[in-house]
């Protein structure tokens, strides 16, 4: 199969983007999910719903409003400009921001479930052994929620790779910077270059299948019949 240079550039860019976004999402998502799993604050519901919101908005629409927000007159754009960063639309950073926003629920949901499933008892035990809240989070909640992290990472990564609407909207299709694989395939389809589209899509399918498979495999191995605490 012959991939054009543009195809290869798109592939590399996609991998870089998805990796960056996944890492950032896990970093931000974990504390958020933790908070959601344990709080009994009345903001829990609204904030949970807010995080889930990108799910229900069509990506292209979401992209359009993100474009407005990131633009020179939008709130985010005003802010980034005031920091001397210029505007983020049509840049890799913009793509990262958009993707984070868009994929957040895919990471927070499984993490929150995993934290829920950890239950109260292990944390109480850890407290009696001198572990403070932050310590408990890192030493108990995180490791016990590990299967949830796998799921979150897969969903986050995958969704960023497959993301399209938002990227199309705020990316501006700049080779090497914002032209990711999904956009490239779309381009091929629109240009009736079905052969090239097929090739790239096949690559994407195979690659995606393989990472999913490896993660599922790992999950299975590391998944010891998790001992649960009776309450």
């Amino acid at each position: 199969m012959g991939f054009s240079e543009a195809d290869i550039g798109a592939i590399l860019l996609t991998l870089r983007l998805a990796t960056t976004v996944t890492i950032l999402l896990l970093l931000f998502g974990a504390p958020l999910a933790w908070w959601l799993a344990r709080t009994s604050s009345r903001f829990k519901g609204p904030i949970g719903a807010l995080i889930a919101l990108p799910l229900v908005l069509p990506p292209t629409v979401l992209g359009f409003y993100l474009l407005l927000a990131l633009g020179p007159n939008g709130p985010i754009g005003q802010f980034t400009q005031s920091l001397g960063l210029g505007t983020f639309a049509f840049s890799y950073s913009g793509l990262v921001i958009g993707s984070i926003f868009y994929s957040l629920p895919f990471v927070v949901q499984p993490l929150q479930n995993a934290f829920d499933a950890v239950g109260e008892r292990p944390l109480e035990v850890a407290a009696t052994l001198g572990a403070g809240p932050v310590d408990r989070f890192f030493s108990i909640a995180l490791p016990l929620a590990k299967p949830g992290f796998f799921t979150a990472a897969v969903l986050g990564f995958a969704h960023t790779v497959g993301e399209f609407g938002v990227v199309l909207m705020i990316g501006g299709n700049i080779p090497g910077e914002t032209r990711v694989v999904s956009v490239q395939i779309y381009d091929h389809v629109e240009a009736l270059a079905y052969d090239q589209a097929n090739q790239l899509a096949l690559l994407m399918v195979v690659f995606s299948f393989l990472i999913l498979l490896s993660v599922y495999g790992m999950q299975k191995k590391s998944h010891r019949q998790v001992l649960r605490f009776s309450q």
């Binding site: 035990v125 407290a127 052994l129 001198g130 998790v226 009776s230």
Partner: protein, 369 residues
């Protein structure tokens, strides 16, 4: 930290905590206790009487409890002050096994150690590992252990950090007798060697008698008896339903060793007893439990029986118990009280009366170390 002298040797727990359950029932724990800040305080009571809830309040796991908790003069809780659990320097052995499933036994134990402000004594570490029979299990994960093995690891984990107060919620309930017998001496030596007070919840009066210095009896969230072990146990008017386990505990001193028969002679306020030699040195204090069922009375001294311990005692009080066939007799042996249980028929037959002098026959073998 607030240290005031008059409470420096006390653990005072005055707690009111409501648990409202669905289905309309509420459970209210309402206790006001001053416990000695050394030795073992046993908390005894029926299932559902609130023992676990009490420990949770003391540990700071029930954050909505009201009241005041001071441990050796340090305020753990008072009005709006609430020291969180992880700052309480408390050790907790839970009622159910509570090992972290993602850590092997070794790392479970290390979890507590690395968070303890005090330095770990390697010898102490190895001693506990050895005693709990964990040496060969250190690499196992909790789901590879049987229930008893898990609980042993949990006990080791709580013991090893040398907390200011150790809370144990029926730590031996899931162990078989042999392991219990192995662990009990260690708990006793924790008691002696370490200055850590222990609050020990149990269903077993056997463990109480063996370990406790102080006894708290709970019923429906209230304290119904509370005091030194000896006083609580030797009170035959007491509402404790101990059945076969009724008996007293006396402290005695080892005086003589008879190596031929492997016996020791120990004296207590009420006289002397021959006891199976458990290796205690002469001059040492030992604790002896004398069950009411092991004490028989005789009007004269009999020397041709296998019962080697005979004490001259005075009948202090007679109390009917269990059905109508049995009664408890409390006997004054010097300054100590022991209890005998006999059938009413025997009492009648021997014409036992308060104030009468009789021989108490105690089967030597019936004395617990």
């Amino acid at each position: 930290m607030n240290v005031s002298n008059h409470t420096a040797n006390q653990i005072s727990v005055a707690i009111n905590h409501k648990l409202s359950e669905r289905g309309g029932r509420t459970f209210n724990l309402d206790v006001d206790l001053d416990l000695p800040a050394k030795g073992i305080t046993a908390v005894f009571g029926e299932s559902g009487s609130g023992k676990t809830t009490l420990l949770r309040c003391i540990a700071g796991l029930e954050t909505s409890s009201h009241g005041e908790i001071r441990v050796r003069g340090v305020v753990w809780q008072r009005e709006t002050d609430f020291i969180p659990c992880h700052q309480r320097r408390v050790g907790y052995v839970f009622q159910e096994s509570s090992l972290f499933p993602h850590l092997n036994v070794k790392k479970n134990i290390a979890f507590g150690i690395s968070r303890s402000p005090s330095q770990l004594d390697t010898e102490h570490y190895h001693e506990i590992i050895e005693l709990m029979g964990l040496a060969s299990l250190l690499q196992q994960y909790p789901d590879q252990l049987s229930g008893g093995e898990r609980q042993r690891a949990a006990i080791a984990r709580a013991l090893i950090i040398e907390p200011d107060l150790l809370l144990m919620d029926e730590p031996l309930a899931s162990l078989d007798m042999k392991r219990k017998q192995e662990i009990l001496p260690y708990l006793e030596s924790v008691h002696e060697k370490l200055d850590v007070p222990i609050i020990y919840v149990t269903h077993s009066i056997d463990e109480v008698a063996r370990l406790a210095d102080y006894l708290v009896v709970l019923e429906e969230g209230k304290v119904i008896a509370n005091g030194g072990l000896k006083e609580v146990l030797s009170n035959i008017e007491h509402p404790l339903h101990l059945g076969e386990e009724t008996g007293v505990v006396v402290e005695a001193e080892v005086r003589e060793r008879d190596s031929e028969w492997n016996l020791i002679r120990a004296t207590f306020e009420g006289g002397e007893l021959w006891i199976r030699d458990g290796g205690d040195e002469i001059g040492h204090n030992i604790r002896i439990r004398i069950l009411a069922r092991d004490v028989s009375l005789a009007l004269s001294e009999h020397t041709d029986t296998s019962i080697i311990n005979r004490l001259r005692v005075e009948v202090e009080k007679i109390q009917y118990v269990v059905g109508q066939s049995m009664l408890l007799v409390s006997l004054k042996a010097g300054n100590s009280t022991i209890i005998a249980r006999l059938s009413r028929r025997s009492a009648h037959h021997l014409n036992i009366n308060e104030g009468m002098e009789v021989w108490a026959q105690i089967k030597g073998v019936a004395i617990l170390r």
